[in-house]
Symmetry: C2
Subunit: 329 residues, 2 copies
């Protein structure tokens, strides 16, 4: 989002409170969620996906999403995002005041049936309904609406997913009225060559402004390499999860978002502006650790920042010693 | 090395038997080392750093390096590499028949004193002696001689290491007669922008053929991103360690080479030829696990390859679905 991106090169979108919490059995108390989001905001995080508007029976961990959205809205400058599986979810998200809503569409229809219990045609119907709902709102209540192309880089059920299919579905979502599409490596299958190829193919079809973000998992250890591949060609928004909490419970073995702390260290050390204070960010882990017993990951939290390291966010130039790799194009 | 690189795009140089074993307390039996190296060779690995010619008192784990070099020499097409801290080590390495010897020089002189117990001037003296020794050998006994620029991306003791210093020392090592220099992120401080900048600076000073390889640690999780950064601009040799075994015992908190299995999956899935059979490689872990109790790392071994994945090494085009990112320059 343009407002949020002012003065920063790369937007790190924290998805831990949604993607992280939905994949663990523990239920984080509402107050702990608020403390977590507040601490993220104080560390300089400018977008948080705070929850998902799904039936509480399905994901009791996220039953308080409406309350969390309302709370997060009080934090100045924070872009509050939420997942919505359908029109009903979108109604609740808009009523709560979410700035951004995302509907996931599994490019693999097999996965779509397992995850959302919907065919592609059925998801398109929800999208149409949501677009109509958004248009019926007063201008200041209209959220940014993203269609997220999940399993875009391959599916644990179907295997390879053709690039042309991803492009075609992306085009259709935009034609139906989504403001933007996003790419999600739900299964952790992506590699850097594929990431670049896929982004370029979508850009060629719909324009660069219709795809600015990517959601990467670290299932095979390639997470930050894939992020770099996307960054190099001009992607500016990266989803990640504090401590790598989370994953997709419906794609076996596909756990683990990229770790926010490691992502921020990479970006900051390259001299890129994220607006995030890495030292403060590392301390946010304590809140999550105190609230849920689940394992947290990350290398930078273990190793700490390099000796003499000066954060880009604190007026230094990171460890970059010169050039950055942000695409000029 | 040209012979070794025939038919492959990227050379994965396995350093586990040296860098891995030197940093763990367990001593792997000589037979297990031989089995390990044999299995690596059978999986398609074409270069192994099999040990270090240091006094057994200092590193008893590597006391059998001469025997291991001699054994590894019997495996057809395998480039047998060894580390040598000084002239004496080089004498032993050459007597054993190593194809390639590497002397590490810590760009941080403080680290050099702690690690090799030598000033830069003293290391240069060893280099001179080794060059003279190599020249005195019959042509077919002359190993390839590399000067490895360790702590090139920063030092746990000194902090930032200026790029100009790395270049200057690299130039000097080549002037003294090293065939090549290598870059080593001993401390896991490197970031992708720095990796590219450093490589370009050295190439500008000494030419592209004098720096073809990089040794990366995964201390802050950026290992494969740094490998991709180097790959993108044309580096063709990557050190890695099976299961991420290893690190530098003299740089606190700087443990962990990049994981061979994850590196090979990244390269293979990008459609690049490594000559390595990933499935066979994954099975090699069992040999190491049976021989030493130390922890092994890696994401790909946990997650397995993607459904329907066809290895590049088996005539597929990996998961790349098109372009690779090997530099055209």
């Amino acid at each position: 989002m343009t407002d949020i991106m002012q003065g920063i090169d790369v937007l790190v979108s924290e998805v831990g409170p949604r993607d992280g919490l939905q994949s663990i059995k523990s239920i984080m108390p509402t107050q702990a969620k608020k403390d977590w989001i507040k601490a993220l905001h104080e560390a300089g995080i400018r977008e948080v996906e705070v929850g998902s508007f799904v039936p509480p029976k399905l994901l009791p961990q996220l039953a308080d999403t409406a309350e969390i959205v309302q709370y997060a809205r009080t934090l100045p400058g924070l872009q509050v995002a939420a997942l919505v599986p359908n029109l009903r979810g979108a109604e609740n998200a808009i009523a709560s005041g979410a700035h951004k809503i995302t509907i996931p569409l599994s490019v693999s229809e097999t996965h779509s049936l397992k995850n959302l219990r919907k065919t592609h045609a059925q998801v398109y119907d929800e999208v149409k309904g949501i677009v109509a709902l958004i248009k019926s709102q007063p201008a200041d209540k209209r959220p940014h609406f993203e269609g997220s192309l999940s399993t875009a880089f391959g599916c644990t059920l179907e295997g390879a997913v053709p690039e042309s299919t991803v492009v075609k579905i992306g085009e259709h979502l935009l034609a139906l009225g989504c403001d933007e599409v996003g790419l999600a490596d739900t299964t952790g299958y992506a590699n850097p060559a594929q990431v670049r190829s896929m982004i370029k193919a979508i850009w060629a079809a719909v324009g660069k402004d219709k795809l600015t973000g990517i959601h990467i998992h670290n299932t095979r250890g390639l997470g930050l390499a894939n992020a770099l591949a996307a960054l190099d060609i001009g992607i500016t928004t990266f989803d990640s999860s504090l401590g790598g909490l989370g994953g997709c419970p419906f794609a076996p073995g596909a756990s683990g978002n990229i770790v926010t702390e490691d992502l921020v260290f990479m970006l900051d050390s390259m001299g890129l502006k994220t607006g995030i204070d890495l030292e403060k960010l590392l301390k946010v882990r304590d809140i999550v650790k105190a609230a849920v017993p689940d394992e947290m990951y990350g290398f930078t939290p273990e190793a700490g920042v390099p000796k003499g390291y000066v954060q880009t966010s604190k007026g230094g130039n990171g460890w970059g010693l010169g050039e950055t790799t942000l695409a000029a194009e």
